[in-house]
Subunit: 243 residues, 2 copies
């Protein structure tokens, strides 16, 4: 399983993903699920994946044009003129990959499905954020639905519903998303550290805030503990039920 959150704020976009993949409980690996393409001054595009690892790695490789030798690669994702076309390109690549893998699989029982969050900004337009379905179609984040979750989304959803505010700064947004991850990590073994973070500042057209939270990250560990205490004391402060 996987957990990724992509969030739209007035300040820009925030992306966070875990790195655990598993096929059963005894095949557990760490794989990056967040990928960024950038041309400083022109565009920054970040993509996060959930689902079949064979599918998602193939999609990223195709977007990277790894079929070509390195010097001939000119990834379309760095050429197309709008974020809408980026979403369409990713959607088409995903759809074709799922179709190809499903069609040629002789015996696999698992599905080749995957879901992708992609967002970023291309010079001349606003930052935009999309959720892409395995069928290749997609939806865009709006003021009413300003964030997307993929993978194991339920445990971490209540705190996002409660805590999101479009005017929040990156520091508060990262804290909120880390709390959402903390709830998920506590409840589901198949979501695991380290966590990858990228915060994209609107109109910067460059990657300035990137970080990997390792297993022993002091801020995250402290946050998790302080949050447990805050929840308990918050609960105590509420009026008890009376029969």
């Amino acid at each position: 399983m996987t957990y990724c959150v992509g969030m739209r704020l007035d300040k820009g976009l925030v992306f966070m993903s875990d790195t655990r993949t598993n096929s059963g409980v005894d095949n557990v690996f760490t794989f990056r699920k967040m990928f960024t393409w950038s041309k400083p001054g022109d565009r920054v595009i970040t993509l996060m994946t959930a689902g079949n690892l064979g599918t998602t790695q193939a999609v990223v490789s195709l977007l990277d044009e790894r079929m070509k030798v390195p010097e001939e690669r000119k990834p379309s994702i760095l050429e197309v003129p709008t974020m809408f076309q980026v979403a369409k390109l990713v959607g088409d690549t995903l759809k074709e990959t799922v179709a190809t893998q499903s069609g040629t699989a002789p015996t696999a029982n698992s599905t080749f499905s995957a879901t992708i969050i992609v967002g970023g900004q291309i010079a001349g337009s606003e930052p935009r954020l999309f959720l892409i379905y395995p069928e290749g179609n997609f939806i865009e984040a709006t003021d009413e639905n300003p964030y997307f979750q993929i993978g194991e989304a339920k445990y971490g959803r209540p705190i996002l519903l409660r805590g999101y505010d479009r005017t929040m700064d990156f520091e508060a947004a990262v804290k909120l998303i880390l709390l959402s991850f903390d709830s998920t990590l506590k409840a589901n073994l198949s979501v695991g550290m380290p966590l990858d973070l990228l915060a994209y500042e609107a109109d910067s057209l460059s990657v300035e805030h990137e970080k990997r939270f390792e297993k022993d990250d002091a801020y995250f560990a402290g946050l998790s503990e302080a949050w447990g205490d805050a929840l308990r004391s918050g609960m105590h402060s509420l009026p008890d039920f009376e029969f």
Copy 2:
């Protein structure tokens, strides 16, 4: 969908269930999912159901011996000597009901599966709490796993993981479980008010604390709002992330 929580405390047992059933989004009904059998001084047994409504209603009817005319009914659930036998009786009834309904269904696409939480106390033993699977087998709550959730369990799990304490009194436990329901109700349309509550005090061998929280329950509405505020102020009190 459904959401039910059964919890074991030093003080006794607490049960809470929602009442919404739906088959698609335009067939939404209110049905009781919590059922209690009691013989004051001898036993109190409470059961909560999740899954196919035809299955769960059949199980409850069979346990009630509704095949017989009212004056001839002597439900075994009121006669068997231990809670373990109660769990076995419920499990066998559930397994047979699922098997019968599956076997005779000509065209139904839906499954007839269901899951049950049953708990209570019979004079001479401790209060006990069980989770019963559609296959008829079951597990018992222990100190390590002191509560069970059935139905739409994920949204409401993080707060239970954080807030549970076996020494808590009923007032605090009901508050905790209501918060777990609040997170679930906010995230999933198929779980809905009213909520049924039963708190069973160990060794009382009678039903003393029962309540239905209606849609407009003032305590629950106030709790939900105060909890939103407490979460936000708890979050603000935590150290912000710094890049």
